[in-house]
Amino acid sequence: MLNRNIFFPSLIILLSLIFLVFISQFPEPRYQDAPVGAGFFPAVIAVLQIVICSVLIFQYKQKQNNQNKQKQQQTKEIPLVSKHSIFGFTLLIGYAALITLVGYLPASLVGFTYYLIYYRVKKPLYYVIAWIFVFTIYFLFGEVFVISLPEGLLFF
């Protein structure tokens, strides 16, 4: 399995190289007084990123060499994503999608209730608190501070 300490800096190096290609296509300054163009700063940053990531990879390799193999086997990496974080991502993206379609109120009621059901919450009080929270936010934003909340594409 690819190590995250190698994979992430390598990915950044690759992205920086792609950025450098994009940056080279930025138009050059047309007037005489502009010594540097729009690409100067991003190019410096992209090069810096490549240098930093190379150092990070080197640091990691050096650290690996310094540790004895037995120790390396003992230290298990915490997984990057777990079942709960995947549920979190899904809830977040699903909520954003639902809010776009049906608007704040139905999306929040459904989202919060689904979350509590997913975690097998049996206390009815928690459901009541969740719904009160949703309606309170709706009231606070809509009525008190007059800030519009998403109304949903389906209800337009």
């Binding site: 540097v36 809010i99 979350y115 608190i129």
Partner: protein
């Protein structure tokens, strides 16, 4: 100045502002007390609520949340060994040990008093120094602003937890994000990929909501199942005595001053300040071995140090338009939303708002002290709020908050993207705060560097022939040098 301050006090005690101030402090204390909810997140969550409010109550409420939030973080740190905010990480060292020894109420009362002293010193310094700095800032031109931004960017090294390179990487990610949109000098579209929403650049508030609130919500969600429910320690009602107060007063004053100085440096936050003050208190202590074993001085230093940042961070924000830390970055957003431009002109164009903020900060610190003492019994109940309810509240509020900025689902997408990025970076031990600081300081550095080069017809001599710019560049070099030296020392100490 005095008349503006007095009218500021009158405004702070008016019916339009005082309830909002109390609500802000109380809300901040509660948010800060809940593990995982930082003062930054509290201010970010409540920011959309201020969109429909007048400038003074809106800013006062957010500052109340800031002051309350920094103090509130100590409550969970003392009682549950779970710092409510990163700023309270140093508070755990002695605060929780005191709680274990049955001195929970005493520890909480020391935290409240030290926080009050730190916050008050910080506000007084802000009032005294800010107008002078504002006059000084009027002498700033493009080269000085570039040097200042560069200095601010070098502080990224010190915000980087263990590995400076990782902090710098986060900083460069932030700088690249800040380049998205039309180039500030020649209006060339950069990294927009034909997406119209990207032409105006990436809004900082959804980025902030994503990096702090959403990422933290996801982290907490993941921890929720693995965490064993830690029972709150038994509660003793013995408070701080007058003799104890006299003992901690010098440490608190010194830490308040150090905290204010650290806070006024762009990029340095309450977490760094708390540790710096703790270390300094330990360095000069007669019995340094007591530190970590329930030392009142250690607790007072950490708490006064982190609250000292509250006023300090507003010095560069109000006078130069440069946020001192992540919270003041959100406050910068709040000022812009209210149609105010932070910087030297704020003092001449809107003095009533500036001095209103100053007076309200003093009142907010007093309110925080009262809330701190009155709430000692109540706090034990609040920190028992089940995470299962808090996490979706954080996530849903973040989505709504991101939408409410521009009524745009695009901003929600940005918040979610940065939420996921923040979550993943956290797993890779890469700090998120440098991203935010770089997004803020990046455009300032770029615009002013290019303006300076145009002014000097392509020559880089502005870096050394303008005294203020040169001073900032020297500060920047010193800042990097001292950070590297400090980190080396820490590494050596760890090895021993």
């Amino acid at each position: 100045m005095t008349e503006y301050l007095l009218s500021g006090f009158a405004s702070a005690f008016s019916m339009a502002v005082f309830p909002v101030l109390v609500f802000g402090v109380l809300g901040g204390v509660i948010l800060g007390a809940l593990p995982g909810l930082t003062a930054t997140m509290g201010v970010a969550i409540l920011l959309p609520f201020t969109f429909g409010m007048d400038a003074t109550p809106a800013l006062v409420m957010l500052i109340g949340v800031y002051i309350g939030g920094i103090y509130g973080g100590s409550i969970a740190a003392i009682l549950l060994k779970t710092p409510g905010t990163p700023a309270s990480a140093a508070t755990v060292l002695d605060g929780h040990t005191m709680a274990i020894k049955g001195l929970a109420a005493k520890a909480l009362s020391i935290a409240a008093v030290a926080s009050f002293i730190g916050g008050l010193i910080s506000t007084v310094v802000l009032i005294a120094v800010a107008p002078i700095l504002a006059d000084f800032a009027l002498r700033f031109n493009a080269p000085e602003y570039f040097a200042l931004a560069l200095f601010g960017l070098t502080i990224i090294a010190s915000v980087s937890a263990k590995n400076i390179m990782k902090g710098l990487l986060a900083g460069t990610i932030g700088l690249l994000v800040s380049m998205v949109g039309l180039d500030p000098i020649s209006s060339v579209p950069r990294f927009t990929f034909g997406v119209m929403d990207l032409y105006s650049g990436i809004n900082i508030i959804p980025v902030l909501i994503g990096l702090f609130a959403i990422a933290e919500g996801l982290n907490q969600l993941e921890k929720m199942s693995s965490d064993k429910q830690e029972m709150p320690p038994k509660f003793s009602y013995k408070l701080l005595s007058f003799a104890d107060f006299k003992k901690i007063l010098p440490t608190s004053i010194k830490s308040g001053l150090i905290g204010t100085s650290i806070g006024s440096v762009p990029g340095a936050g309450a977490d760094i300040s708390a540790f710096a003050c703790y270390n300094e208190a330990k360095r000069v202590a007669k019995n340094p071995e007591e530190f970590g074993n329930g030392s009142m001085h250690g607790l007072a230093a950490a708490e006064s140090g982190n609250n000292g940042v509250t006023g300090g961070s507003l010095v560069p924000l109000l006078t130069l338009g440069v946020p001192g830390d992540a919270v003041s970055a959100v406050l910068l957003g709040a000022l812009i939303v209210q149609g105010l431009t932070p910087g030297p002109l704020l003092f001449t164009q809107n003095p009533e708002i500036v001095y209103g903020i100053f007076s309200s900060m003093i009142v907010a610190n007093i309110v925080m002290l009262i809330v701190g003492f009155l709430g000692i019994r109540f706090f034990c109940r609040i920190i028992e709020v089940p995470k299962i309810l808090m996490i979706p509240i954080i996530i849903f509020l973040s989505v709504i908050g991101a939408y409410a900025i521009n009524n745009s689902m695009f901003d929600v997408g940005i918040a979610i993207t940065f939420g996921l990025l923040g979550f993943l970076l956290n797993k890779l031990d890469i700090p998120s705060s440098p991203i935010l600081l770089a997004i803020i300081l990046g455009p300032m550095a770029e615009t002013n560097l290019r303006k300076s080069l145009i002014m000097y017809e392509g020559s880089w001599s502005f870096l050394y022939d303008r005294p203020i710019a040169l001073a900032f560049i020297l500060f920047a070099i010193f800042s990097v040098y001292s950070t590297i030296k400090l980190k080396k020392k820490e590494r050596l100490a760890e090895k021993k």
